[in-house]
């Protein structure tokens, strides 16, 4: 029995020039500075994987383990993923499409965002490579996930974040006993600092020197969507974009499923969603360009998407064009409306990035990019309890009364029903 995936990935490969590197903690091509990606032996995977084998395994993202880059069994985050794909009929009606589904990563385990997927791969791989201290540059969700997963794995951790993040995201890291370092500056400055620290102290920075492995974890959303639809693809998927990595990896997942014989088609348009206050990818796409103009000072309530120089922006645009899809961006007001629309229709409380996705999907339907006859999956990647400040004051206030029936009758029932 092939109980682990050693042999399914062969090393790292530069996405730009194709130079090969051993499967170590490295992420940039020494020659051309392009990003390194995990290189798989798809012929071997094709022989090892099948729909039946996947169906026989536990309901976590590790049921697709042949396509994830660790050598042994996962040692961190074995329960992550396989979040619900919710058929959202009420939202479909509001958006004006035939069929709508929510890929609900607001309930991903253990920290309520899709980042648990990438961290599970990153920390499992970091342990295989012998690291004992892990770290990340984060806009919040990643910090929460690194902190929690490192705690349960007994790893020392440092999370570096912009100093002005939402309280829920700061506390949601501190509680796990990690070392939270707030940086005076935007995410891009945090990231720049982390790239200097990563080389210096020999730490496993999940999204710097471990990035090739880490990023692969996002593919699991793509596999899950297909499997949960009965091994079918929707006409459209809408994905929020910060660095652009999630979108490119969902696209990669779809092409891989065909390569290894799990699917016959790759036909599915993958649309990108950004916040208008930080939309370098969306703006480049709309201008017909693939050169991204960095956003020096992002201004949006969707802080988790506020990356001014998206590392995978170019590749995200390629994926969007290749699949015949499009890009949209949403203002702060539209983001709040998006959060409320999803909550009111489906009972799902998404963070600001989810509001961006819903708002952009609405625009894509309204402008005819997505036809009323089509199906659509929205990737909702993080829980709303983490970004409460963003909607505080926009959802009304509770009505306060004393514990007296007469007061309830008068102030609540009569006010609501006798008018």
């Amino acid at each position: 029995m092939h109980s682990h995936s050693k042999g399914f990935f062969t090393g790292l490969k530069c996405r730009e020039c194709g130079r090969l590197y051993p499967a170590e903690a490295t992420h940039v091509c020494e020659f051309c500075f392009g990003p390194l990606e995990v290189d798989y032996d798809y012929a071997t995977i094709k022989k090892a994987i099948s729909r039946e084998k996947i169906a026989s395994r536990p309901k976590s993202m590790w049921r697709y383990k042949e396509l994830l880059p660790i050598e042994g069994e996962p040692t961190v985050g074995a329960q992550v993923g396989f979040t619900p794909l919710v058929k959202a009929d009420r939202l479909a009606k509001e958006l004006g499409v035939r069929e709508c589904y929510i890929k609900n990563d607001t309930v991903n385990y253990p920290t309520l965002s899709f980042k648990d997927r990438v961290v599970s791969v990153a920390l499992s791989r970091a342990k295989e490579l012998g690291f004992t201290t892990v770290a990340c540059a984060s806009t919040g969700n990643l910090a929460n996930s690194v902190a929690a997963n490192a705690a349960s794995a007994g790893l020392k951790s440092y999370v570096l974040i912009p100093a002005d993040l939402e309280q829920g995201k700061v506390l949601g890291s501190l509680v796990f006993g990690t070392n939270v370092v707030g940086i005076h500056g935007a995410y891009d400055q945090v990231n720049r600092l982390c790239s200097e620290i990563a080389g210096k102290y020999g730490w496993a920075f999940v999204n710097v020197n471990i990035r090739p492995y880490y990023a692969e974890g996002s593919k699991s959303i793509g596999y899950e969507i297909a499997e949960q639809l009965g091994w079918k693809l929707p006409d459209n998927i809408v994905v929020p974009m910060a660095s652009g990595s999630l979108l490119t990896k969902i696209h990669k997942a779809i092409t891989e499923m065909k390569k290894v014989g799990l699917m016959k088609t790759t036909k599915c348009r993958i649309h990108g969603a950004q916040a208008t206050g930080c939309a370098p990818i969306s703006h480049a796409f709309k201008n017909g360009s693939d050169i991204l103009k960095p956003v020096a000072s992002p201004k949006t309530i969707a802080k988790s998407l506020a990356i001014g120089t998206p590392a995978d922006g170019y590749y995200a645009i390629q994926s969007i064009r290749e699949t015949g899809a499009s890009c949209e961006d949403a203002t702060d007001v539209e983001i709040i409306e998006g959060i409320q629309l999803l909550a009111g229709c489906e009972g799902i409380f998404a963070e600001t990035a989810g509001g961006v996705t819903v708002a952009c999907a609405k625009k894509l339907v309204a402008n005819g990019t997505i036809a009323a006859t089509e199906s659509i999956v929205l990737c909702i990647t993080g829980h709303g309890l983490k970004t409460q400040e963003a909607i505080a004051g926009h959802c009304g206030q509770p009505r306060l009364i004393h514990a007296k029936l007469s007061e309830f009758d008068e102030k609540i029932y009569h006010a609501d029903f006798k008018k």
Binding site: Y187, D188, N191
Partner: protein
Amino acid sequence: MPIKVRIPTPLRKITKDKEVVEVEKCATIGQIIESLEKRFPGIKERLCDEKGEVRRFINVYLNDEDIRFLKSQETGVKEGDEVSIVPAIAGG
């Protein structure tokens, strides 16, 4: 007065550990790259792809402005300008 070119750490093996290199008699960014190649053979293929375009993950700044938003390699330079070569930072 010559033009200063800032060299990033990974390319300093080629420039014999020089962090700043000065070039003269160059009218464009393209000419600066050719001038660097003459003095430090091998540096051009690190900066430019087979078509001669600046590689996607290399940023060249003229006085803090990315040359992609100017005239790329045709961007004019004058004495006293400062050019920085900065590899893109992966992450996020």
